[in-house]
């Protein structure tokens, strides 16, 4: 009698184990499914809507079919470049500080700052950039958009630079110092020079993140419907253009929103995967 109860209890435990396994498998499917659906819709709708004029033409007036997003593609490149020009030097400098002077009190504060900064909602960053750039300049501008994106890129660049520079083995630092080089030369010519290619992947990761941001650009770069290279005036970007088109009632604009999303996804996923691939390789090799 008691033996039988025992066997049943064992069966009960086995059922629980199998059920649990099933639930984890179903969850994995539930996570992958949206990814596949999004990829499918973006590729089917987007690739189908794509044509040469999308890259070479500007938007047509409302109601007319056709036109493209040339201005937004170029605008995204310009604004992301502005952001990178601000964020990269500052970010790498902070990365150096964190990796070379990691024990100082300031380092710990900076680390906390970076963590908190990466958690700031992007819309709040947009409002901040509006307040410090758009208000004094009295105009929406590509520059303001670049400032907003730089604040988004900054924590990513600092974190990846720190990680990458920390992978430089200590004996290389010591070897440099043993040669009688001052520390700044060791940092500049041994540590930084040897890591430049790796640091670039961190920058690509940050760019891939910033290029997809919409919220911080809504009231900084704002957007327009014509070609502009003037960084002191509003400039269109892919994400904002997609947003404008997506919530519009016009079928042809919605079609173009998908095409824009397709281009944006391809760019971002390609950059992201590339950077990830290189970063894992670096980490597997432990630096050099």
């Amino acid at each position: 009698m008691s033996l039988k109860i025992k066997i049943n209890y064992r069966l009960f435990r086995e059922i629980k184990t199998q059920l649990f396994k099933l639930v984890t498998i179903l969850s994995a499917i539930a996570v992958i499914l949206p990814l596949l659906l999004i990829l499918k819709f973006v590729f089917v709708q987007g690739a189908g809507s794509l044509n040469l004029s999308f890259f070479t033409e500007l938007p047509k007036p409302v109601g007319e079919v056709g036109g493209g997003m040339k201005h937004a593609i170029i605008g995204t490149i310009v604004i992301v470049m502005i952001g990178a020009m601000i964020a990269v030097p500052i970010g790498i400098t902070c990365g150096i500080y964190l990796s070379e002077f990691s024990k100082s009190k300031l380092s710990k504060t900076l680390k906390l700052t970076v963590d908190l900064m990466s958690g700031i909602p992007s819309i709040v960053i947009g409002i901040f950039a509006y307040l410090i750039v758009v208000v004094p300049m009295k105009s929406f501008s590509a520059f303001a958009g670049g400032v907003a994106l730089s604040i988004i890129m900054l924590p990513i660049i600092i974190k990846t630079s720190e990680e990458i520079l920390k992978l430089v083995p200590n004996h290389l630092r010591e070897a440099g110092l043993a040669l009688g080089l001052p520390r700044w030369k060791v940092i500049l010519f041994i540590i930084l020079k040897g890591s430049i290619a790796n640091l670039l992947t961190g920058i690509i990761l940050a760019i891939s993140r910033a290029a997809g941001e919409t919220a911080p650009l809504l009231f900084t770069a704002f957007g327009n419907m014509y070609m502009s290279y003037d960084i002191k005036s509003p400039m269109a970007t892919l994400p904002v253009q997609i947003y404008t088109y997506a919530i519009s009632p016009f079928k042809d604009w919605q079609r173009q929103a998908w095409a824009g999303a397709f281009i944006l996804m391809v760019l971002i996923l390609a950059m992201n995967l590339f950077a990830r691939f290189i970063l894992t390789k670096i980490k597997d090799k432990k630096g050099f």
């Binding site: 025992k6 209890y9 064992r10 435990r13």
Partner: protein, 259 residues
């Protein structure tokens, strides 16, 4: 202990046991039988596959990705690698103590001891308390922890943690207890305590212990096996192995000329 006092009844038997990590064969064709209520030591140079062999005896080895096992292990005549056998049941009957003390960090001392029983659906508090006391006494830990059974298992010292792990293994009352270098992470005093308690628990259990410490093997074991490169070179009464080994390799090893 002389040979005549040892039990003749065989409890565990390995038959042509082999184990792999991927393509690397770590254990090669082991044939051996263990008698009831004896302490059996396994010695050999490090990397000789003795731990892997031990881990095959309760089918823990197969939990590592990319490993597999061939051959038979008979527990009271029954092959534990038989397809019909429940691996959970095997591990219930062949307990294990590891190299590093590993009490569950989020559990109290008491919970650590009785968790094996809980898993089997035994939840009656009086039973659990009773078993915990018995096992902690067997593991010579009761006096030290009886007033703080509800504090965390990890709050104990290393030697106490290892005795807690022994109590935890004893609580499910396995006829066979495997010990994988149980004292290698401990200081000499803690080691002595554990050796002492092994002599006590031998009255009820069969112990198979892997040790890198030859003196320990000579001190506590009834039988000793000597392993090199996954092969068992020699197995016999410890008194014979350490005074009068048959194989040249064994002699070289125990006299310190090799390994």
């Amino acid at each position: 202990m002389s040979k005549s006092e040892l039990s003749e009844k065989i409890i565990l038997e390995a038959k042509n046991l082999e184990a792999w990590f991927g393509d690397f064969q770590a254990v090669k064709g082991i044939d051996v039988s263990y008698h009831e209520r004896t302490i059996n030591a396994i010695i050999g140079p490090s990397g000789c596959g003795k731990s892997t062999y031990l881990r095959c005896l309760n089918r823990i080895h197969e939990e590592i990705e990319g490993t597999h096992v061939r051959g038979q292990v008979l527990l009271e005549g029954q092959n534990i690698y038989d397809k019909k056998i429940d691996v959970v049941d095997v591990r219930k009957r062949i307990g294990m103590v590891f190299q590093k003390p590993n009490p569950f960090p989020s559990m109290s001392i008491l919970d650590n001891v009785v968790i094996g029983l809980r898993l089997q659906g035994i939840n009656k508090r009086s039973t659990l308390l009773e078993v915990a006391e018995t096992c902690l006494k067997k593991a010579a830990l009761w006096e030290e922890v009886k007033d703080k059974l509800s504090s965390l298992g990890t709050s104990l010292s290393g030697g106490q943690q290892q005795r807690l792990c022994i109590a935890r293994a004893l609580a499910i009352n396995p006829p066979v207890l495997l010990m994988d270098e149980p004292t290698s992470a401990l200081d000499p005093i803690a080691t002595a305590k554990i050796e002492e308690l092994m002599n006590e628990i031998k009255r009820d259990y069969t112990v198979i212990i892997v040790t890198h410490n030859m003196q320990q093997a000579a001190r506590i074991s009834d039988y000793t096996s000597f392993f090199v490169y996954g092969k068992m070179i020699e197995h016999g009464l410890s008194s014979d192995i350490f005074t009068n080994p048959k194989e040249k390799q064994t002699e070289d090893y125990i006299s310190g000329r090799f390994g």
